[in-house]
């Protein structure tokens, strides 16, 4: 398998011989899975293919030329920053080109105006350290500090650190995109100057075609540069401590502190989220899945299960813990003030402070999200959404009940309620539901649960994050738009008429549902007989996946 040889030679002339390959071993090295996000799922097995070639551009101009060559040779491509995001970051057709962005690692910091400008090869932990050294911090996506900041913000971008500036869109400032036809489009103030400070810029805010609540997973061009908002922190650089696997950031005692509180009830946890926001103090407040505590304590997979199997539905239902971070942004006095406000709130709600390590193991700079896979080997988040508190609190019980039907193959979690937290200084809630399984099981149930959860949200009128590119577009589009599927497909037609940018997204999950027999019963929403692909894509789909 390989891409068109003329296209290969033309791309080689752009990136240099050392930065393109179609060697079968290299292509195998880029395969999707079988471990990782959505590992072993039907989606991955049915939809992903080995790449035909991989190239590594260095500059925006390189990317532009590569994309133009792809357009000339009708060559499908997928942008790939670190490739951590599972099958969704990998080719879905035979002989596709992976455009690996890792050599694009320019980084600039404007400490005075609190923003950075990065290319997609830069990951969060790098940025965070640079920010710390300038008294700032960046909101690292919960997926971990090992992800590309650009890719994360294009698609997701939430974290417990979203308490202050939550909406990812608001942290994306000026940026540069190479559209699927090779045209460079600059967003925000970059459109008419070299200063990327404004995300909005003049005219309509183009960020709307970049992402809605979630992003388009690379199916509408390639972001080559992004300015990202950073937030004021405090002056002391957290100290790195310990030897692997016991490494953490030592937090400056009088300026940053995580505190765990035991609370009397679920309601009191919910109230704490709202009240802390109202009081406008703190850096984060969150209630995480109970089994994460067991992951944090366990030194290996087996120990995790030793700990977790001691739990019961009752013990989990009666375990109320809220985790809060306070930051002395301006002074130690302000830190003390925040601490006092926080303890007043907690005391009023009947909570008690527990001893908490004076360190950060996860959210600031770490990549311990990899530990998600410790328990079962396979994982995906089926929902993450910023919504009203009211809605965010309701999602836990909804998911818990639906999940019961799919356990097994999903992991026994004692009916845990998932993860919620407060964003935008208490103006928004956040809800995330994560599922785990062993990919060596029959995983059809996992595939079904994924889509069933979207159907549940449609039924309940809940606004889920995983719309468009992550879920079947013909399910979510009519239900939420009623026409947003038409809007996305219309954009696709205008900007990517040949469907070369990561096809068949945004219809990949629709394709999966019609190609996987075990999805047929659950896929009961109307879909057109033919998907609106250009003929060239229809042929490629048939070649890669067979006729429908």
């Amino acid at each position: 398998m390989s891409i068109n040889k003329y296209a290969y030679e033309a791309i080689k002339a752009v990136v240099g011989e050392a930065n393109i390959t179609d060697d079968p071993a290299d292509c195998m090295g880029y395969r999707s899975g079988p471990g990782g996000y959505e590992s072993g799922t039907g989606y991955e097995r049915v939809m992903t293919r080995l790449p035909g070639a991989i190239c590594m551009p260095r500059t925006t101009k390189d990317v532009q030329e590569i994309v133009k060559i792809c357009a000339r040779y009708d060559l499908a491509f997928v942008p790939y920053s670190t490739g951590f995001y599972g099958p969704r970051s990998h080719p879905h057709l035979d002989d596709e080109l992976i455009i690996d962005m890792k050599r694009m690692r320019d980084f600039e910091i404007d400490a005075e105006h609190f923003f950075i400008t990065v290319q997609p090869g830069v990951v969060y932990s790098q940025i965070q350290q640079e920010c710390f050294e300038h008294g700032a911090y960046v909101v690292v996506g919960g997926g971990g500090a090992q992800t590309s900041a650009v890719a994360n913000l294009l698609n997701d971008g939430w974290s417990p650190l979203s308490f202050r500036v939550g909406l990812p869109q608001r942290r994306i400032l000026g940026l540069e995109m190479v559209m699927p036809d090779g045209e460079i489009v600059k967003f925000g103030s970059l459109a008419d100057s070299d200063d990327p400070f404004w995300g909005e810029g003049i005219g309509p805010d183009l960020r709307g075609i970049l992402r809605g609540y979630t992003g388009l997973l690379g199916c509408l061009g390639i972001c080559t540069k992004m300015a990202i908002k950073t937030l004021p922190f405090q002056p002391v650089v957290p100290e790195m401590q310990g030897v692997s696997p016991d490494t953490s950031l030592k937090l400056p005692e009088k300026r940053v502190k995580w505190i765990n509180f035991t609370m009397p009830s679920l309601k009191s946890i919910e109230d704490a989220h709202i009240m802390l926001g109202n009081a406008e103090v703190g850096g984060a407040i969150t209630k995480v899945p109970t089994f994460w505590r067991a992951i944090a304590k366990a030194s290996c997979k087996e120990e995790f299960w030793d700990l977790w199997l001691k739990e019961t539905e009752e013990s989990v239902a009666n375990f109320f813990l809220v985790r809060v971070m306070i930051i002395g942004f301006t002074s130690e006095e302000q830190f003390d003030y925040d601490y006092n406000v926080l303890t007043d709130i907690i005391t009023e709600l009947g909570g008690k402070e527990r001893r908490t390590k004076p360190s950060d193991e996860s959210w600031f700079k770490n990549a311990d999200s990899a530990g998600m896979w410790l328990m079962t080997g396979s994982y995906v988040s089926v929902d993450y959404v910023m919504d009203s508190f009211d809605q965010a609190f309701k999602q836990g019980p909804n998911y818990r009940d639906l999940k019961d039907k799919y356990t097994p193959p999903l992991m026994p979690d004692c009916k845990d309620l998932g993860w919620f937290q407060s964003c935008e200084m208490g103006h928004l809630g956040y809800y995330e539901y994560l599922i785990y399984w062993d990919q060596r099981e029959d995983t059809n149930g996992m595939d079904q649960f994924y889509v069933d959860s979207a159907k549940m949200n449609v039924r309940n009128g809940a606004y889920p994050a995983l719309l468009s590119s992550h879920q079947p577009l013909y399910l979510t589009g009519p239900a939420y738009g009623p026409n947003y599927h038409n809007w996305i497909l219309g954009l696709k037609k205008i900007f990517d008429p040949k469907w070369l940018s990561h096809p068949p997204l945004p219809l990949a999950h629709d394709e999966f549902c019609r190609r996987a027999a075990w999805m047929h019963d659950i896929a009961d929403w109307p879909v057109p007989d033919e998907f609106p692909y250009p003929d060239s894509l229809k042929k490629k789909m048939a070649a890669a996946h067979g006729d429908i």
Partner: protein
């Protein structure tokens, strides 16, 4: 009722799979290869220790060629492809497999969060290459022949004890037997001279091995287990014959061979060798703690320390393992996984900081996050550009912290750094830790 019972155990049908930590069969690591999550903890420095946008990579192989296939994440996928007959042997595949120093950085990085056996998988891929007649590379075969013919990996016919001068006074009988190694015997003779000087100044008796030969590092590392096993058996017999309680090396590669890979080859635990394996820095550090080693002469330099891989992330003791994997991937019996916690990090720093006059600077990538110099495990012999590239990157880091001297605990690092610095016209000094200590004793 347990959670599993409540959740219908009978409906989970997880297979039970037997496996062993045995690199003779790549199939033992199928689960590990299938569960690599592409987080690239094997490529980046531990994110907690991430120093910023520079000096952020820990894999010398992927630093050299940036395609994912050169980092452990890619190699795990390729290994699975090998197992399933989906990749064919080619020169390029051999480059991917062998242009890697088996430095262990990926293994500790991965085991920061997960339980996957990365290092063993990489070793097993090489063993498979040899078994299928594709490996090792011609240059490795040549080295193996030289070892068989001359007992050293250079094929040198000179006396292995040629480094000994009149000042070297080994005991006839001692608890410690000093295994000098090929590099120190032939190329970096200043190292054994310094080691023996330091030991003698601290009154630590040592003996030398009669008819010492190569430790077998390169045959083992390139996957020729038969040759390596023969060497291991012969060498172990010599130590037993000597009656020594401690086998001491001054070379990190030899250290790992004796401590980890000999037991691995023989299917025994490290503590079943019948003697202890120590690196010189452990012996010197103990002498320092006991007040026997007196470092009195000032060495007025700004120096930094490079943690050689095989006295840091790869040297946890070995324990053979056979068991079964079942429910959610849990294994039985339990296994204390080797996460690279036994690194000799404190010993080396205690020694360096005990030298008067030293202005010590840590590099951003330190301890288990140190970037391999690129010189070990037969990789440099086959891919000198990869080795130079790694050394060059590390030398940049030495300069970044303003040090004029870089110290390590392995003659292979010494060679690779010095050769690269000389080639690039870099004005830095490269020293073995023994040489530094030797400057500080009277």
């Amino acid at each position: 009722m347990s959670v599993i019972d409540k959740n219908h155990t009978d409906r989970y049908d997880t297979p039970e799979e037997p496996f062993a930590l045995d690199i003779n069969d790549l199939g033992n690591f199928r689960y590990d290869m299938q569960h690599c999550i592409k987080c690239k903890g094997c490529y980046w420095v531990d994110h907690t220790y991430m120093p910023g946008v520079h000096h952020s990579v820990r894999c010398p192989s992927n630093l050299w060629k940036e395609f994912d296939s050169y980092c452990a994440a890619g190699k795990m996928r390729i290994g699975l492809g090998m197992l399933d007959g989906k990749v064919e042997w080619s020169d390029h595949l051999l480059e991917i497999i062998y242009a890697c120093t088996l430095c262990g950085a990926c293994d500790v990085g991965c085991k920061r969060n997960l339980d996957l056996e990365v290092d063993l998988t990489l070793e097993a891929m090489r063993v498979r290459a040899v078994k299928e007649g594709a490996g090792p590379l011609p240059v490795h075969k040549d080295i193996i022949k030289k070892i068989e013919k001359t007992g050293n990996c250079y094929g040198a016919s000179a006396d292995r004890n040629g480094w000994m001068d009149a000042d070297v006074n080994p005991a006839e009988k001692a608890d410690i037997i000093y295994f000098v190694g090929c590099s120190s015997s032939y190329v970096n003779q200043s190292v054994p001279k310094a080691i023996t000087k330091v030991l003698q100044s601290a009154d630590v008796p040592y003996m030398l091995m009669k008819d010492e030969t190569c430790c077998g590092n390169i045959p083992f590392s390139v996957g020729d287990l038969d040759t390596a096993k023969k060497i291991a058996e012969a060498n172990i017999a010599k130590v037993k014959e000597s009656g020594a309680r401690v086998l001491m090396t001054g070379c990190a590669e030899c250290y790992r061979m004796w401590k980890v890979d000999y037991p691995k080859l023989l299917g025994i635990r490290t503590d079943e060798l019948g003697f202890e394996v120590k690196h010189f820095i452990e012996v010197a550090d103990e002498a320092l703690a006991e007040g026997k080693l007196k470092l009195t002469e000032p060495v007025n330099r700004r120096i930094t320390y490079h943690d050689s891989c095989n006295v840091s992330k790869t040297c946890d003791p070995w324990e053979p393992y056979e068991g079964k994997r079942g429910w959610m991937g849990c294994i039985e019996p339990r296994l204390d996984r080797r996460r690279g916690k036994s690194g000799l990090y404190d010993q080396s720093r205690e020694l360096i900081n005990a030298v008067p006059g030293i202005d010590f600077a840590e590099m951003p990538r330190k301890k288990e996050n140190a970037l391999c110099c690129g010189g070990g495990r037969g990789a440099k012999q086959a891919f000198p550009e990869m080795a130079e590239n790694a050394a060059r990157d590390r030398i940049e880091e030495v300069k970044f912290v303003g040090a004029g001297t870089v110290v390590s605990a392995c003659p292979w690092c010494l060679s690779n750094f010095s050769e690269t610095a000389a080639r690039d016209g870099e004005k830095i000094d490269v020293l073995d830790i023994a040489e530094l200590l030797a400057m500080a004793v009277k």
